[in-house]
Subunit: 232 residues, 2 copies
């Protein structure tokens, strides 16, 4: 699976949260990082190039700061000029059909404010309807969004936890079962081990991997016991 | 009441619907027409000027084509730079509080598609949550939007009817009673009569006005009778 990560941020170097997540991307071949404001500083989008890029990927992610409950202007411009009738929708416009679409939102306000009675009034689910509708119209499968609230105020451990969720959103098959998450983690560890071959790190990775596999076998064993109890 | 009509359209001269409605505005002193793409062709917005303009008006209207379920990029940019913390929200940010806010949307797809099972999936009410949330956060009263579907396919009479609704959205006090609409129309006719003084048109306006007043008196009379019946 190949993921196109379309990032839109008018001032990305100043954003601690954007830098934190993007700096983890450098070596991954399965993710194409595509920061619109860097590529098109004058705002003139190369439509043919963008459409070709979309075709080459299976999962399309929009990552942006959620100012005024929507995307930055350049991403909206990108939508208006790239997702054309005949390409993304309409007669023979099925270039995106069957792909996956997801949002990664950086949000400056606490989660609890996103409800009736809160300062933001509506939930993220309500406020992102325009993107859900876009996903629907273009025939893409809408993934659960990753919402990152008040990143700067988080503890280091919470940030690390979000980084794992971030990686999963970008590269993990869209299944939520424990098994799927373990399979994903095992593959990630395998890759890390190859890179770290011969060093002490490799041994730690190997240990983590065997621990996960052991747990998996224990859980599978417990399931068999439970199934037998149900049958009796 | 003074209305600030903020229009955003990347190619307004090519839009028949925009031209139809905007051409009717020329002589009205109660409406300030403010087309962002004409005023800021290079996209650099004069924040202080925009904030001063907002303060001078009682009703703020956004008028735009509803591409990809949202505003054109320049209007989003305007929101991001003009509606700042300390001006539109946050500590002492109450410059818009108590004003009215409304949307006028030009929509290229039939109304029936804006529901579950339709090509657009969600209602206009659902898709405009980001603007409702903006109105809420800035303390403005959200007006019912004026939605104009597939303008080019309408009959002349339907267009005229929409033009009246358009004028009401821009200049009529936000009351839906028959009385409010009649009062508004009487005032509009009065203005038209002054301009047309001495011509045959003036007589037609006068006749229309007297007819409305007569109807009003008949209705008021019926109400008194009804009230008395209730009391007995």
């Amino acid at each position: 699976m190949k993921t196109l990560l379309i990032v839109s941020h008018p001032d990305i170097l100043e954003s601690g949260s954007q830098q934190y997540f993007l700096s983890s991307l450098k070596e991954n071949v399965a993710v194409t990082l595509h920061h619109l404001e860097s590529i098109y500083p004058n705002g003139k989008i190369d439509v043919a190039k963008e459409q070709a890029l979309l075709k080459q990927h299976d999962r399309i992610i929009f990552q942006f700061p959620f100012y005024w409950y929507s995307s930055p202007p350049l991403l909206k411009h990108w939508q208006d000029v790239v997702l054309t009738d005949g390409f993304a929708y309409g007669n023979r416009g099925n270039a995106l059909a069957g792909k996956e679409f997801g949002l990664i939102l950086m949000i400056g306000i606490p989660e609890r404010e996103y409800q009736a009675g809160g300062s933001e009034l509506f939930s993220i689910n309500e406020l992102t309807k325009p993107f859900q509708a876009m996903s629907h119209k273009t025939g893409m499968k809408y993934l659960k969004p990753l919402t990152i609230y008040q990143f700067a105020y988080l503890e280091e451990e919470q940030k690390m936890d979000l980084l794992i969720q971030y990686w999963q959103k970008l590269t993990m098959e869209d299944e939520v079962s424990l098994k799927a998450r373990e399979t994903w983690l095992a593959a990630e560890l395998e890759q890390a081990m190859e890179k770290a071959a011969g060093t002490q790190e490799a041994e730690i990775f190997q240990y983590a991997k065997s621990l996960i596999e052991e747990n998996r076998m224990t859980i599978d064993g417990l399931k068999i016991v439970l199934d037998q109890m149900h049958q009796n």
